[in-house]
């Protein structure tokens, strides 16, 4: 998982610096974390990159909405989460991980790479059965390991709602796994 750099917007966009340079610094300091966060939800590199760009554009266009500068990272994460959820809703499809994009280790044999790719595809098939919000909540809780409170904050909803999304996500995913076992 990418490192979380809690950094205030004023630290990034200092007055006196050229605007473009300040924006570039802001992107540089956060893009990796935001990309990873979005990638976990959409599970596709190209889509995650597009959505990362979209999230940064939204954030920089509305930076006046950021009231507490200490929450810049959380604010950006929330924008990224909403952007990813909107994408899943819009597209109404799950995205496949291309074989050449699949996680790989140089020590793995081609058979191992293929097996791992198949296993990943199996997990992604399960994610497709979830709604956009169930999927995002499950990924943040069970893949990224965020506490439910933080998931609720990122998704801009109550903890009870997040628990409901997580419970539904786990139940649906487990049913899927059982069906595939048969």
């Amino acid at each position: 998982m990418g490192t979380t750099v809690l950094i205030g917007m004023s630290d990034v966009i200092e007055p006196g610096l050229e605007l473009q340079e300040r924006q570039n610094r802001f992107v540089s300091q956060h893009f990796r974390r935001i990309f990873v966060q979005i990638y976990h939800v959409v599970q596709n590199v190209a889509d995650a990159q597009d959505l990362t760009q979209e999230a940064f554009i939204k954030a920089l266009q509305h930076q006046e909405q950021l009231k507490d500068e200490n929450k810049a990272a959380h604010w950006l994460s929330r924008i990224a989460t909403n952007t990813a959820i909107d994408f899943l809703r819009r597209s109404g499809r799950a995205t496949f991980c291309e074989l050449d994009e699949a996680p790989e280790s140089h020590s793995e044999s081609p058979e191992q790479i293929l097996l791992r790719s198949e296993h990943r595809e199996y997990l992604e098939d399960g994610l497709r059965l979830l709604s956009a919000r169930e999927r995002a909540a499950l990924i943040m809780r069970d893949v990224e390991g965020l506490p439910a409170d933080e998931v609720a904050e990122r998704m801009n909803c109550s903890k009870a709602t997040v628990r409901s999304h997580i419970a539904n996500g786990r139940t649906k995913f487990r049913r899927y796994m059982e069906r595939r076992k048969r």
């Binding site: 990796r32 990309f35 790989e104 997990l123 069970d142 990224e144 419970a167």
Partner: protein, 187 residues
């Protein structure tokens, strides 16, 4: 024995229940084989999911450059759209002003038409013209009366108008002179 529902068991597997429900569920699961297996199933599933966190090999430097360039492009495009927005808004505002002005005119016109006093009917029921000896009498109401007497005149011609005046024209048979009289109520 009443079993917790699947949602509760799914949340219990991830330690996502509140303290009291967690305690209740744990107590039940410890004694119930079926629920214990269900929780184990959810736990097994949760252990698989972190595999989705693995990232493919990514050239971060290339991606950073692409993202920065595209963000810049997106922001500039947004600025272009924003700078065009006021014009668009201005023309919209102009149309709105025209429509509002026209609406006000219609309203005012409508009010004037509705408020214009209707012409009052002159009740002439109380006005009467009566012939009298050697002349005519015009009576309006109970108190006002006009009389036009032309003693000895022949072939006198009388005329009346709606404003309450009347007149007569006749020729004196003895002198041959023509006399014209007009009288009216004072306003």
């Amino acid at each position: 024995m009443r079993h917790p529902n699947q949602a509760t068991l799914a949340l219990h597997a991830g330690a996502d229940l509140g303290p009291f429900r967690r305690w209740l569920t744990a107590r039940h699961v410890a004694r119930c084989t079926y629920c214990s297996q269900e929780v184990a199933g959810y736990t097994e599933m949760r252990e698989l999911l972190p595999e989705l966190a693995e990232l493919p090999e990514i050239s971060w430097n290339r991606m950073a450059a692409e993202i920065k360039a595209n963000v810049r492009l997106g922001l500039e495009a947004g600025e272009c759209v924003r700078s065009e927005m006021p014009l668009h808004h201005a023309s919209l505002a102009g149309w709105r002003a025209v429509v509002a002005f026209a609406s006000v005119l219609v309203l005012v016109g409508g009010c004037l038409v509705l408020e214009r006093p209707a012409p009052q009917m002159v009740h002439t029921a109380e006005t009467s013209v009566a012939s009298a000896k050697d002349g005519v009498q015009l009576q309006a109401g109970d108190n006002r009366m006009l009389g036009l007497m032309n003693v000895g005149a022949q072939k006198a011609v009388y005329h009346f108008d709606a404003q309450g005046s009347m007149g007569s024209r006749y020729t004196d048979p003895e002198t041959g002179s023509i006399t014209i009289n007009t009288v009216s109520y004072a306003q």
